[in-house]
C-alpha cells in the first residue's frame, strides 16, 4: 500500500485513541470532584497528562472547571484537545477515503460535525458525563467499524498499530501523573483519600471491574502492576506493546523483515514482558515510565523512517 496512505491510517487511529483517552481522564475527574467537593486541583494533572500545562497558563489565569473543560475539549489551538484530535483524525480519513470503508468515514465525519456545532460547548458543560461518554463511544464505534468492515490487511494492521501505541503511551501517562501527584510522600500510602483516587485512576482507563476481579486491595503497587504488566488487560502497557509488535511484524514480513523499528519495539516489549513490579518500584516508577515514553517516541520516529517516508 502507498506509504502516505499507511501514514494517514496509522495517525487516524492514533488520534481517535487520543481523543478517547482525553475524554476518559476528564470524565473520571468530573466524578472525582463529586467525591472531593471544593477541590479544583484535580484538573492540573489532567492538563499535564495532555502535556500542555504551559499552553494552558498562557491563556488562563487559574484552573477552573470551565477553563479546563474548554481547553481540553473545544480549544482548537490546543493540539491535544478532543476537537483537535477528532479534526486531525478526520483530516487523515479524508486523505484516505478511498482506502477505508465508507462507514468508517461517515462515523468520523458525523462526529466531527457534531463537535463543531457552535452549540456543542454549552451542551457539553450542561451534561458533561453524557458528552464525554459520547466521545468514548465514538472511539469504540470506530474501532468496531475498523474491525468489522475492513479486510485485516496491511491497512488494518497500521490502524491497530496506531491504536496500540497511542494507548500504551496514554496509559503510562495517566499512571505517571497520578503517581506523581498522589504520592508526594510515601507515608500517605493506604490513606482513605488515596483509595478513592486510585479507584479513579482505574476507572479512567476502564479497568475498575477487571482490577477488582484480580485484586482485593487497592494499593498504588497493585494498580501500577495491573496497568503496566497485566498480560490480558487490553489497556495495559504490556498488552498494547505485545499487540503492536504482532501488527508491526504482519506489516513488515516477509518483505522487510529486518527493519529497525521491529528491533526497537521487540526490545521495549520484552523489557516490559519480563520485568516485575518490584523491579520497577526499585528503579523508580516515574523514571521507568519516563524512559518508556522516550522509547515510544523514538519508535514512532523509526516507524516513520521505515514505512512512511
Amino acid at each position: 500500500m502507498l506509504s502516505r496512505v499507511a501514514n494517514s491510517i496509522y495517525w487516524l487511529a492514533r488520534y481517535i485513541e487520543r481523543a478517547e483517552n482525553v475524554a476518559r481522564s476528564i470524565d473520571v475527574n468530573l466524578q472525582l470532584q463529586l467525591d472531593l467537593p471544593g477541590e479544583e486541583r484535580p484538573w492540573e494533572p489532567v492538563i499535564q497528562i495532555a502535556g500542555n500545562a504551559d499552553e494552558f497558563f498562557k491563556k488562563y489565569a487559574h484552573v477552573s472547571i470551565e477553563n479546563a473543560l474548554m481547553f481540553l475539549t473545544f480549544d482548537s489551538e490546543n493540539p491535544s484537545s478532543i476537537i483537535s484530535c477528532v479534526a486531525a483524525a478526520r483530516e487523515n480519513a479524508r486523505c484516505v477515503r478511498e482506502r477505508i470503508s465508507s462507514e468508517l468515514w461517515i462515523a468520523i465525519n458525523q462526529f466531527y460535525l457534531k463537535l463543531s456545532d457552535p452549540e456543542m460547548p454549552k451542551q457539553a458543560l450542561a451534561a458533561p458525563h453524557a458528552f464525554y461518554n459520547s466521545v468514548k463511544e465514538f472511539s469504540q464505534l470506530t474501532v468496531g467499524i475498523i474491525q468489522g468492515t475492513m479486510s485485516h490487511d496491511v491497512a488494518w494492521n497500521f490502524a491497530r498499530l496506531g491504536t496500540m501505541l497511542e494507548r500504551a503511551d496514554q496509559t503510562s501517562r495517566i499512571l505517571d501523573v497520578k503517581y506523581y501527584i498522589l504520592l508526594p510522600d510515601v507515608s500517605m500510602v493506604g490513606m482513605a483519600l488515596d483509595t478513592v483516587q486510585w479507584n479513579a485512576v482505574l476507572k479512567s482507563v476502564g479497568a475498575y471491574e477487571m482490577f477488582h476481579r484480580q485484586n482485593s486491595n487497592v494499593t498504588p503497587y497493585n494498580v501500577a502492576e495491573f496497568l503496566l504488566l497485566r498480560e490480558d488487560f487490553p489497556r495495559s502497557l504490556r498488552y498494547c506493546l505485545e499487540q503492536a509488535e504482532i501488527c508491526l511484524k504482519n506489516i513488515a514480513f516477509p518483505v522487510k523483515s529486518n527493519v529497525e523499528s521491529i528491533r526497537l519495539l521487540g526490545k521495549l516489549r520484552s523489557d516490559v514482558t519480563f520485568t516485575t513490579i518490584e523491579e520497577i518500584i526499585r528503579d523508580g516508577l516515574h523514571e521507568r515510565i519516563e524512559k518508556t515514553q522516550i522509547r515510544l517516541c523514538d519508535l514512532g520516529t523509526q516507524i516513520w523512517k521505515d514505512f512512511f517516508c
Binding site: 502516505r4 483530516e91 486523505c95 465525519n109 460535525l113 512512511f308
Partner: protein, 497 residues
C-alpha cells in the same frame, strides 16, 4: 405541496407542458409527489441534505475565509430526459467527441485542418491550452480526451445546444452518482414505477477504459492523481478512486526511474501503468511544464512519451475546449467526419474578428460575454442582468484583449421545478453528460443537471450560487418495466385484501 398551480412562465420546462400539466415522462413522479402528505416532501429534502453532510460530499470554495466545506445545494425534484431526447443527444455527443479527437491528433501532428484554413492557425498559436511539448505525439490508442463533460443548454423552443466542451479534467460526475443514491432513497416508489436508466455502471466503465490504455500488461496498475485534499474537487477524486477500487495518489507518492513511473508503497516501489490525472497540464511535470509545481511528478512526461505510462486525459487536449475554438466545432465535425453537427452550437461571436467585436460592443447589454481562457463562471458578464458601468468595464476589457473574449446571445435556458419557500418555482438549468472514450465510447445515461437557484439567474456554476439535481434518463421502453408491473400487481392485491 402540490403541482396544481405550477406556472412555467413562458419558459421551456423540463417536467411540465406550457399549461403546467406534466410531460408524459414526468407523470409518475408528479403523481407521486401530489400524493405525499403535506410537509413530507420538505422532510425528504432535509433528509437528502443531511445525507450530503454526513457523507462529506462537500467542496471548498476558493477564497472563502471560514474554510468550512460547503455542500452543493441539492434539490430533490429530478430533471427528466425522455428516451427520444436522449437518443438524439447521445448521437450528437458521440459525433462531437470523435471529431474533436481527430482534431487534436491533427493539430499536434500534420496540421491539415490549419493548412486547409478551416480553423485559423492564429487561434492555435495563441491558445493558452496548446502544449508545444506534445507536438508530434499521438497518445496511447490515439485517444486524447478519455473523459469529456459537455455542457448542454435548451432554449425556449426546446432545442438543445452545446454551450461548452470540457476536455481537461471535467468534474461533477461523483455528484451524479451520489445524487442518484440519495434520490433512490427519496422516491423509491417512483423508481419502481418508471424505468429510469441506472448510472451505477460509470466507475466500472471508467476503469475499463483506463485499463484499455495499458493493454498487454497482465495486471495494469491504475491510479487517480489528485492535487490533494485542498483541491475543491478532492471529494470526487477520492470517490472515483474508491469506487473503481484503485489507489488515489498525490505527486509525492509517485517517482520516475528509467522512464517508468512507480508508486512508493510500504513494501517498496510498484510500477504504475495508467494515471487518471486530475492535476492540470501545467502542474503535471516540473521538468516540462511549470518548474515551480509541487503537485506533479518530475520526469512524468518523459515516461509518457516513452510509452511506459498512459495519462488520461492526454496533456494538451485543452485546446479542443478553448472557447474560441468552440465556434469552429461544427466545421471541425464536417471536416473530419463529413457530417453536419447533430447538436448545434450556440451562435457565438469571436471578438478576435474585428467585425464580431464591433457587434458585441454595440449590443453588449443583450449578450453573455465570456473570457475564452476561464471556466467555472468566473470572468463572465451577463449583459441583460448587468449595470451600465459593468458593461462599459467589459467593453474596455474586450478592446484590450479581443482574443480572450467570446459572446453569445442570451439563451432563455430551460427550467425545472424546484422547492422554493414551500412551493414549486421554475429555475434555469443546464446539463453536463459525461462521455468516456475507451475501446468503445460510453455515455453515462444521465449527467449533472446544474441549476441556478437564484430567481431569474442563468449562472449555474456551484461557485456562483448554483445547485444540482439528479438527472433521469427514461429507458427506451417507457412503459412500466416488469419490476414496476410486479409491484403494481402486489399493491393491488394488498388493497383488495
Amino acid at each position: 405541496m402540490k403541482f396544481g398551480n405550477y406556472n412555467t412562465e413562458g419558459f421551456y420546462d423540463e417536467l411540465c407542458l406550457p399549461d403546467g400539466t406534466p410531460r408524459p415522462a414526468a407523470e409518475p413522479l408528479i403523481t407521486r409527489i401530489n400524493e405525499l402528505p403535506e410537509g413530507e416532501l420538505q422532510r425528504r429534502q432535509k433528509v437528502a441534505e443531511s445525507a450530503f453532510y454526513d457523507n462529506g460530499i462537500t467542496f471548498a470554495v476558493y477564497g472563502n475565509k471560514d474554510g468550512k466545506d460547503k455542500i452543493i445545494p441539492f434539490d430533490v425534484i429530478p430533471r427528466i430526459v425522455s428516451a427520444a431526447d436522449w437518443k438524439h443527444l447521445e448521437a450528437g455527443l458521440k459525433q462531437r467527441t470523435e471529431a474533436l479527437n481527430c482534431f487534436l491528433t491533427d493539430i499536434y501532428n500534420d496540421r491539415k485542418i490549419l493548412r486547409d484554413k478551416v480553423v485559423p492557425e492564429s487561434l492555435i498559436n495563441t491558445c493558452t491550452a496548446y502544449r508545444p511539448q506534445m507536438e508530434g505525439f499521438v497518445p496511447p490508442k490515439g485517444i486524447w480526451a478519455h473523459i469529456t463533460g459537455t455542457d448542454l443548454v435548451r432554449d425556449t423552443d426546446g432545442t438543445f445546444y452545446v454551450l461548452e466542451d470540457n476536455m481537461r479534467c471535467p468534474s461533477g460526475v461523483s455528484y451524479v452518482l451520489q445524487n442518484r443514491q440519495i434520490l433512490k432513497r427519496t422516491f423509491p416508489q417512483v423508481f419502481s414505477h418508471c424505468s429510469i436508466r441506472p448510472v451505477d455502471e460509470y466507475c466500472t466503465r471508467l476503469r475499463k477504459a483506463l485499463e484499455y490504455l495499458a493493454e498487454g500488461v497482465d495486471v495494469p496498475k491504475v491510479v487517480v492523481l489528485t492535487p490533494g485534499i485542498y483541491n475543491s474537487a478532492y471529494y470526487e477524486h477520492s470517490y472515483l478512486a474508491q469506487q473503481m477500487g484503485v489507489d488515489l495518489v498525490t505527486g509525492d507518492d509517485l517517482v520516475v526511474q528509467d522512464k517508468k513511473v512507480y508508486a512508493r508503497t510500504t513494501r517498496g516501489l510498484k510500477q504504475v501503468h495508467v494515471i487518471y490525472r486530475r492535476v492540470d497540464d501545467e502542474f503535471l511535470d516540473p521538468q516540462v511544464f511549470r518548474p515551480d509545481s509541487c503537485l506533479g511528478v518530475p520526469g512524468l512526461i518523459e515516461a509518457y512519451k516513452a510509452g511506459n505510462v498512459a495519462l488520461a486525459n492526454a496533456p494538451g487536449c485543452g485546446v479542443a475546449d478553448d472557447k474560441a475554438i468552440y465556434t469552429y466545432v461544427p466545421e471541425i465535425i464536417k471536416y473530419y467526419l463529413g457530417e453536419e453537427a447533430i447538436i448545434p452550437n450556440v451562435p457565438t461571436f469571436v471578438c478576435e474578428n474585428p467585425k464580431h467585436m464591433q457587434h458585441v460592443i454595440d449590443h453588449i447589454e443583450n449578450m453573455v460575454v465570456k473570457a475564452a481562457s476561464e471556466s467555472g463562471g468566473y470572468g463572465m458578464l451577463v449583459g441583460p442582468k448587468s449595470t451600465k458601468e459593468e458593461c462599459e468595464a467589459f467593453k474596455e476589457k474586450i478592446r484590450k484583449n479581443p482574443r480572450n473574449y467570446i459572446a453569445q446571445p442570451m439563451i432563455s435556458l430551460s427550467r425545472v421545478p424546484c422547492i422554493v419557500d414551500g412551493g414549486f418555482e421554475g429555475r434555469h438549468v443546464d446539463l453536463r453528460p459525461y462521455i468516456v472514450q475507451g475501446k468503445e465510447t460510453y455515455i453515462l445515461p444521465g449527467g449533472l443537471t446544474r441549476v441556478a437557484l437564484r430567481k431569474g439567474s442563468i449562472v449555474v456554476n456551484s461557485s456562483q450560487g448554483g445547485g444540482c439535481k439528479d438527472t433521469w434518463v427514461v429507458a427506451e421502453n417507457e412503459k412500466a418495466p416488469e419490476l414496476g408491473q410486479a409491484r403494481q400487481w402486489m399493491e393491488q392485491q394488498q388493497q383488495q385484501q
